[in-house]
Symmetry: C2
Subunit: 571 residues, 2 copies
């Protein structure tokens, strides 16, 4: 190939600066051991005495202003933005609305130099981006809190260091994958007289432009894996934020562009394309022939459309949609642990995680525990009591619950009684209105629980996104496990869990989870929750059931984001 | 997971027997160095004095008979088969037509034990299958010759050892991929008091049933990669042969089933589903919800339908369709080598390879060579003379040409004059009828060449499958390279080649090939041809242009044929 332009001194420096990180992260990814580069504690001892206050100030400086740091993008002259915090305040930040043709052209123009930089330079540039994102974790945490409704500490951790670890995981997964094929080999085939010898050069080429369609609830956590996987493989990325969660991605894209520029690359390798309400920009972008990769988190209907539209023109589409997360409760030797763990999972961010359990299968014959045998109703009531205990103090509860993100979630809560009546079930725990001490306008609700019979598949195979969980009365644990397998297989799930003291039952649950293609958490009674996964070790999603066609982050998530083009000649 | 049934002694033995092969092949795949397990020479010194005669006898024993060795499949009571050799004779072999519901059910029933055997046992079983296929190479060569029309030596090599090497490549690629994630780890997160410790088990689960839709021209070479990649990843495989090329796959599937049975597995993990003419069985099977993976080689229209139908329900679809393979001729210091090499590529199997060059871009200003400067017409005529020389002796020519496989190919040859007239071009070389000394009924034709102007994109961006190549007169080599890039990007190509003595021109061609996503062969003048790729080193296809969405065999070809399901618990 023609010699690429020489690397900038800055790009050289990044290669050195991040070599150790890339080595350590690569090792962790292969071992699937514990690894975290970015401290999850928002403590002043970690991030500095003024970090929290500086973060608030930086966030507030965006409010009511144009996001000028992105004004160098190819705008069409209009500015858009209508974000309203789930906690009440209107953000009032506006962002340049891009001319799509110009943005696509700019991304395409950025491709050759980014491609020819090579996998390792790209990885080093990406780590620098993530590092600089980390330095703005408090600002991003405030932005995520006030767009997603996440409580602050969760917004800091999940949208900050945890999302950054997932970003780094994606970068090293992409790097490892690109470096599996050598850059050049001499191939020598024994011959009758002399051997046949050929030099073969293998060149990594990106697929083309990548589009990331982002969601409202996890604007960074669910965006970074696709964004960094595509970027690290050489594909310029168009970031299409959810109209209600633009700011966290504006900050992220601003940083990415600055790092690219500093390293001597065209910042158009990452662009932010915010949209006006109702514009349908994701569809417009997904239909562009230049877009070769789409990453999507959101509702199933549009996800399926993307998958089909993508296939129609050969694009690669990664989707995370929705499912029916399920728990089987059989028996336990730590009832308090079970109740506390499940109550926390229901409560965290008002159940608005794609990983929050919805269906809890409990046998009608009851549950053997270290506190004696509990009937179905007794167990249900104990679970309700645990949730009530966890959420009884408004000031403490809001730090777990956050705020409800949209009217769909609120409607699910409002419909709890109706749901129970229609299903011939019982409201085991009503959802309670919580008043946020600092944000009285925030709509904050505690989780509600409804008991239904196993025969009402029509009810419990619907998704009730938000703080609604169903306690499904089954004939036996065997039936619970069968229902978990069958409903997940058909409707998908991001998570599954089982509680049992019986090895045989755990085995059966593992087999059911394998059949259904869903990851299984067993007997979680402590500080690990079914709705949380750890970068570098836990896969998020499996790609093996309808909830998602991919996992963060396995080889299949990165291996097809680039292709290898060989040139060969005799030597 | 529940303990799988203990391995049979035979499966244990296979693990030992093939450990060294798996190690050597794994190493070769990573290094992309020369590796071949199966000798390509049909010499009696390699395969035994009686191998050739035994192979003919074994082939002939199938003629006019039911293929009883597959009668244990769930047939519907009817037998199908209407193969006629492109060399003339009717085969008269019939095969059990399966009950689709029963075949799907049998495949599903075979899945759990095959899944739970684990990646390494599956790989060892697959190597045993390929070894036993190798032992029947002469029989398969005769079957391929008389279904595809390939000449015998090519049928032996390409459908035998070369296809077997590709099969082994697929097996080890799948094995390596499955073993990248450890089976189990202990994850330990530092904590304030004690660390959090969890055991995480990662289980490889197949996607489901796999379908391979096979082609007429390369019934084994294009089938084995998908078949063995899916099987090695735990997916039971339904093999749907082309109705005109059933026998080579009947033999292959018979062997696979025997090995599975011997190793203690359900032979339904591999089934052959032949169809009656016009039945459309591939479509029926591709629409089954149980089918999660489809591998396809064939025409673009059905390939696109498969891609879209697959996406509609989340199936993974690998397609190799068709394209416009292209050559740029700029200059050479070895004119005889260029002419001989290109003439051979046009002639081999009457140009009926998906890799045969179709468009040769030559500048109107001519070509500098070691025999002086040649005008466009002089070069064209020298190329025609080289083809004529190579094919002048009927008895020798048929050993390269083989026989034309179908009426579409014959129509392309018949239409040569018309094509030239419509394109305002010149027939540089007319196709000649060759009489096969042994098979007078075979329709054997030499390649034809037509010169057309670069303005006639409407002509040279059509595919003329078979012995029709177009010499495209361009304004300059720069235009030749631009046309190669643009036509391949839009219409696809499996191969590209360039001849030039200028490093600058070679660089430009490499960049164009990278832009277009096609592998490039440079200055081939000896015993390596643009239409041939070597397993373990050369990728077949790139997946980066419309001709194929995948490559034999990269990580992307195998990584998504299985998924990982985690179970985790505190320890």
């Amino acid at each position: 190939m023609s010699a690429p332009a020489p690397l900038s001194p800055s790009a050289h420096e990044l290669l050195d600066r991040h070599a150790a990180t890339l080595a350590a992260a690569t090792e962790a990814l292969a071992a699937r051991s514990y690894y975290s580069k970015y401290p999850e504690s928002p403590s002043p001892r970690v991030y500095g005495e003024t970090a929290a206050a500086d973060g608030v100030a930086a966030y507030e400086a965006h409010l009511g202003h144009r996001y000028d740091a992105l004004a160098d993008q190819p705008g069409d002259g209009t500015w858009v933005g209508a974000e309203v915090s789930p906690y009440g305040p209107t953000l009032g930040t506006t962002y340049p609305h891009l001319d799509v043709d110009a943005a696509v052209a700019a991304a395409q123009a950025a491709l050759p130099a980014w491609r020819d930089a090579g996998a390792r330079v790209r990885a080093a540039v990406c780590v620098e981006i993530v590092d600089r994102i980390n330095a703005r974790s408090f600002e991003i945490a405030n932005a995520v809190m006030h767009t997603s409704g996440q409580p602050f500490v969760m917004a800091f951790q999940a949208a900050g260091p945890h999302a950054q670890d997932r970003a780094l995981e994606s970068v090293v997964a992409a790097l490892v994958e690109q470096e599996r094929v050598p850059a050049s080999v001499v191939w020598e085939k024994p011959g009758r007289d002399a051997p046949l010898r050929m030099q073969k050069d293998y060149r990594v080429v990106p697929r083309g432009l990548a589009l990331v369609v982002c969601c409202n609830t996890f604007p960074t956590w669910n965006t970074y894996p696709g964004l960094f996987a595509s970027l690290a493989c050489g594909n310029p990325v168009l970031v299409k934020p959810h109209p209600r969660a633009v700011l966290p991605l504006a900050i992220s894209v601003e940083i990415a562009r600055a790092v690219l520029r500093d390293a001597g690359f065209d910042p158009a390798a990452v662009q932010l394309l915010p949209e006006a309400e109702g514009e349908g920009l994701a569809k417009t972008l997904a239909e562009r022939p230049e877009v070769a990769i789409v990453d999507y988190t959101g509702g199933p209907a549009f996800g399926r459309w993307l998958e089909q539209a993508g296939a129609a023109r050969g694009a690669l589409v990664f989707t995370e949609k929705a499912g029916i997360n399920s728990v089987v409760v059989d028996s336990t030797d730590n009832l308090r642990g079970v109740l506390g763990n499940l109550a926390f999972s229901f409560t965290l961010y008002t159940g608005q995680m794609c990983t929050t359990p919805q269906n809890v299968y409990i046998p009608a014959t009851g549950v053997d525990t270290d506190e004696g045998h509990l009937s179905f109703d007794e167990f249900a009531d104990r679970l309700a009591a645990a949730v009530t205990r966890l959420t009884s103090d408004d000031a403490k509860a809001v730090e777990l619950l956050g705020a409800t993100v949209n009217d769909g979630v609120r409607a699910n809560i409002e419909g709890l009684d109706e749901l129970a009546a229609e299903a011939g079930g019982r409201v085991v725990l009503a959802s309670r209105e919580v008043t946020h001490p600092a944000y009285p306008e925030a709509v904050v609700r505690t989780p509600g629980l409804v008991a239904v019979d196993v025969t009402r598949e029509d009810v419990y195979t619907q998704e009730y996104f938000g703080p609604v969980s169903l306690l499904v009365r089954t004939a036996s644990t065997a039936q619970s496990i069968a229902q978990l397998r069958d409903t997940v297989r058909e409707h998908g799930a991001m998570t599954a869990a089982v509680y049992s003291t019986s090895e045989q039952t755990l085995d059966a649950a593992r087999d059911a989870a394998a059949d259904a293609g869903v990851a299984l958490s067993e007997n979680l009674t402590g500080a690990v929750f079914v709705n949380q996964t750890a970068a570098f070790s836990d896969f998020h999603g499996t790609g093996a059931n309808p909830a998602a066609n991919a996992a963060y982050t396995d080889a299949a998530f990165v291996a097809n984001r680039f292709r290898i083009v060989t040139s060969r000649r005799h030597v």
